[in-house]
């Protein structure tokens, strides 16, 4: 994703969510600008963990807590405030938020400054996806954890799950018929590759690693064995 810029404000992806760097100006205008920016991109910001860098601004606890409430109304959690001002730093601590973060940029959201990676785009998600969580990625998705009922993973490439699939999985969403879905325990509420929906088996056999792919226009789910590793 591109670095979003508005006036002097910058928003970019970092390891711990999003970082908004507010520029110079009056605090009420800056916080208003931030809220407006988020309102305009509600889908993108929904559920985000946000850090703001306020630079030299001296922001008081009441101002900060008002901003936090308003952000929370838009589904954004303000969890850290970076600043050079001791007043702001105190206010931040008072409200139980972090004053330091790891500024390492995330590879998923902001790969602009990196050289082209070898291989294909992929993300690694190291947690269980609970109900209501949707991951949508234009590449491969690897999950170390489960996909619970009510969670959804949509990928242009493959979906590899070191865990159980019980939610919705949709691989090859942009038409890649070679996309595969595999899991240690495959029991999805729906499984789709491109626009072909798998027919779920009447009865489940023994739980073992399985792999789903398209063969002759149908989704076939087979027990995984090492011969599947090679070739498409």
């Amino acid at each position: 994703m591109d670095i979003t810029q508005m006036g002097e404000m910058q928003i970019k992806g970092i390891k711990d969510g999003l970082l908004a760097t507010l520029g110079e100006g009056d605090w009420s205008e800056l916080s208003f600008g931030l809220i407006e920016h988020i309102k305009a991109r509600a889908g993108f910001f929904q559920g985000a963990k946000l850090t703001i860098d306020v630079g030299e601004h001296a922001v008081h606890a009441s101002e900060l807590s008002t901003l936090r409430d308003r952000l929370s109304d838009h589904g954004v959690m303000l969890w850290a405030v970076l600043s050079n001002s001791p007043i702001t730093e105190n206010a931040t601590k008072l409200l139980g938020m972090a004053t330091k973060i790891s500024k390492k940029e995330s590879s998923v959201l902001d790969r602009k400054e990196k050289s082209t990676p070898v291989g294909e785009d992929a993300i690694l998600v190291e947690r269980t996806l609970r109900s209501g969580v949707v991951i949508n990625f234009r590449g491969h998705v690897t999950i170390v954890g489960d996909i619970n009922p009510g969670a959804e993973v949509i990928a242009a490439g493959n979906i590899v799950v070191w865990g159980k699939i019980r939610g919705v999985v949709h691989a090859g969403v942009e038409g890649n018929e070679h996309a595969i879905i595999c899991a240690m325990d495959m029991n999805p509420s729906q499984l789709r590759i491109t626009d072909v929906v798998a027919v779920s088996p009447e009865k489940r056999g023994k739980v073992q690693p399985e792999i789903a792919r398209i063969k002759d226009g149908k989704v076939v789910v087979e027990v995984w064995n090492s011969s599947h590793v090679r070739g498409k």
């Binding site: 559920g47 963990k49 807590s65 936090r68 409430d69 929370s72 109304d73 959690m77 969890w79 409200l95 139980g96 269980t128 996806l129 609970r130 109900s131 209501g132 969580v133 619970n148 009922p149 009510g150 019980r166």
Partner: protein, 267 residues
């Protein structure tokens, strides 16, 4: 003294949050703790009814937050207990009258004087839910052994993790041994395996709950009620006691399997 703030929430409505809050509050107070419970369900208050304190309400949570009364004035003392108080919800206002930081400030003020602050959360994942968990040190998620309730519990557990209030603990309410035996109710170990967080109590389906709710007499006050015993066991676990999961008339083997699971789960 610094109280522990515990929020009781669920995602789905009607699973037993208010019943649980009232009973845990009475049970903890019965153990000699100083307890205040806060009804966070603004616009739909009913913790006062379940506690039988409805007719004593003068001021409410929003009055405190908007400065129309002092905190003490809005704390209704339950005379059955040495130290149990209720801060009722406002019935006429909408949820936006309270913000998460209001709740943090309020609880900080209460912490000094109390042992436990219990907050009854409204259903859903909106503002009211965020208000209810804002000040929480721990969150109890109430659910029923039923597909939609479990799915909502799973969702809420994820949100609690995202707000860094996790890991939540689970209270499985309205478990009906007969239905479990017949295989007509979700298998409890399956529920726990899916939710993958610690279980702090199993409360059976019990008619005494309905009766007691109508009388404004929480069921923990009834020493014969199975639900009452289950709630008081939860209160003891909250206080750090190691109370085993046993059931007097369990023929389904549920508690056997459960205790095996809890043992192998290593906690």
């Amino acid at each position: 003294m610094s109280a522990s703030v515990s929020t009781i929430t669920s995602g789905k409505g009607g699973v037993g949050k208010t019943t649980t809050t009232a009973n845990l509050a009475v049970a903890l107070a019965g153990m000699g703790k100083k307890v205040v419970c806060i009804d966070g369900d603004i616009g739909l208050r009913n913790l006062d009814v379940v506690l039988g304190l409805e007719n004593r309400i003068v001021y409410d949570l929003v009055d405190v937050i908007e400065g129309r009364c002092r905190l003490r004035q809005a704390m209704i003392r339950d005379k059955r207990m040495p130290e149990l108080y209720l801060i009722p919800a406002a019935q006429t206002r909408d949820k936006s009258a309270v913000s998460p930081s209001d709740m943090v400030r309020l609880c900080d003020e209460l912490r000094e004087e109390m042992d436990w602050i219990l907050i009854d959360s409204p259903a859903g994942i909106e503002r009211g839910f965020r208000n209810a968990i804002a000040a929480a040190d721990s969150v109890l998620v109430v659910t029923n052994p039923e597909v939609s309730a479990v799915r909502d519990a799973d969702r809420i557990i994820g949100l609690i993790e995202a707000e860094e209030k996790g890991p939540a603990k689970i209270i499985l309410n309205r478990v009906n041994q007969n239905l479990v035996k017949r295989g007509d109710m979700l298998d409890v170990p399956d529920v726990l395996e899916l939710l993958a967080v610690e279980l702090i109590g199993i409360v059976p389906e019990d008619e005494a709950v309905t009766v007691s709710t109508n009388r404004g007499q929480p069921v923990v006050l009834d020493s014969h009620s199975k639900a009452g015993i289950a709630f008081s066991n939860i209160a003891r676990r909250m206080n750090g006691e190691d109370v085993p999961f046993v059931n007097m008339d369990d023929k389904s083997g549920l508690f056997d399997r459960l205790s095996r699971m809890l043992r192998t789960g290593g906690d």
